[in-house]
Amino acid sequence: MRKSFKLDEIDCANCAQKLEDAINKLDGVEQARVNFLLQKLTLTAADDAFDEVLARVVELTRQVEPDCEIIR
């Protein structure tokens, strides 16, 4: 399953790149893309584990970029 989320307040292009790298290293994430200009996160993960993976992604984002919020 592939879904897009709005990333609020992602401030710098470099941070977006780092966040993307970090999310891609998470368990269960097949592919993650962070688009800095569109403030968008596109996440691909298995259908049955999607919510679980998403919860991990949200938690990681809170650690890496506390200012930035994933809007579901």
Binding site: E9, D11, C12, A13, N14, C15, Q17, K18, R33, N35, F36, L37, L38, Q39, K40, Q63, V64, P66
Partner: protein
Amino acid sequence: MNKKQRKWRNRILIALAIFAVVMVIDETGVLGAAFGKPGDVYASFVLFLIPYLIAGYDVLIKAARNIRRGDAFDEAFLMTVATIGAFAMVIFPDTDPHMAEGAAVMLFYQVGELFQSYAVGQSRKSISELMDIAPDYANIERDGKLVEVDPDEVQVGDVIVVKPGERVPIDGVVVDGVSQLDTAALTGESVPRHVEGGSEVISGCINMTGMLHVRTTKPFGESTVSRILELVENASEKKARTENFITRFARIYTPAVVFAALALAVLPPLLGLGAWSDWILRGLTFLVVSCPCALVISVPLSFFGGIGGASRLGILVKGSNYLELLAKVDTVVFDKTGTLTNGTFDVVAIRPADGIDESTLLEQAAHAEAFSDHPIALSVKQAFAGAVDETRVADAHEESGHGVAARVDGRQVLVGNDKLMAEHGVAYRDCDMVGTVLHVAVDGRYLGHIVIADVVKDDAAQTIRDLHAAGVKRCVMLTGDRADVAASVASEIGLDEFHAQLLPEDKVDAVETLLAGEANGGKLAFVGDGINDAPVLTRADVGIAMGAMGSDAAIEAADVVLMDDKPSNIAHAMHIARKTMRIVWQNIVFALGVKIIILLLAALGIANMWLAVFGDVGVAFIAILNAMRAMRVDKS
């Protein structure tokens, strides 16, 4: 400015005010009078710490957090080290104090960051305006009332209602209503399109005049507007080589400068080349310039702007890499039919025999062809101004491969080629024009002939001129048509080369040969209408599909998609690609140039920290402003 930015601005203003007051106190010697020596230095240290912390506490926190995660090399870290370093110079009492500089660097950095954030916000806004073609609801009739629903919920085959002023949310066919559609957002074309019952409508168009009932033919997710948005959004995933280069460069650049700064601060004083304080200060200045942000933001932003700007003209570019390739194109290969010509048959000349007028000739031909629906017959009937009265026609039949014969008003009318005339012993006149020639004879008397040909598009010749002016060396046409037809089209619009009588697979071979002839990194673009050109579109460096509005196959196969069928958009696309690449390189050269100069000056001890901060945030700000130019395209 959003709420966060306003708070940020106010914080910076307060810090600036306090900084100014502290500066005055420090300069006027009040501290010296109150605390004596060296107490005054410590007092001013504490005072400057106030605006420093107000302005930069978030930067310090961010740096600390990054260090904890073991991921230190970012701007916040560099600024923290540089400013704390400046404050720490207080332990070298032999030098002038640098607290003012430390606080000022942080302030200046924050001002620059705020500007940068504002500029990014602005470009995001322009981008979302660019993409604001997706309707967020569809009207459905339920129990006689109109209800707004999420377009995702509409099933294929449902009837939706589009009111005047609204955007068509989903592709479909009009079942009821007549209106004009504004397709400018999709094609850049400003002339509205007329639709009525039975017409196909494409999502993203604005309904201008009348209420339309539309039976949907696709789900929302597969409708044209959704596909276009997806395409433009995902375009940034296919990165240009320049973009990848910048990313790799940034990864090396920052650590390299940090270690260089360290070496600069430590080695010379160890070798006894000067005071510690002097070299540490130079090292710190070095650090401030080391952030590659100007490039990391402005290069992708330029590409995005170029792609976004192009999409406003109805030119969809599927990735930054294609924009980069398009800028290097020096050979453009065209398919003829449907690309340079309209792909339809039109009457291009009417040449009556002596004593006959044009309308008589057309009238006879149109009536003889009354019952035929061959493309040639259709174009003759279309050219005839009056209505065809079928009751005047009897005994119409095809003369296989040669033309038609019929009795019109009781007289025998023959319409066809040379062979038909020869067969019936009619003395016909030869024609010097290229195309399909229809001779007309009534009761054995020759009336003249009508020439039918595929018409070259209005802007085809201009396109070739524009491409040549833009530095394209060869414009080549490939066609399955006869050589004389191809030659006439080629000379009419000024092509450099043409290959005629090609089978579809020959086109691939022809493109291969042309590709092999490319020298010095020149690229080849192939332009076709996308219907049966898929192999060639894929083989070319850049495959351009024309007239793709509503054609899934073309959107799929091509790298660049022109929504309408005007070849002049090829020249526009190349123009945008070149402009984007110019902006990208301007930014790269400018940002790196300024940084390298400041690094050199800093190493020599000429540049101070103020200049270094300009080298970081100032350059980033200017580069972003420059990148935003890529988004602006002339509609002309």
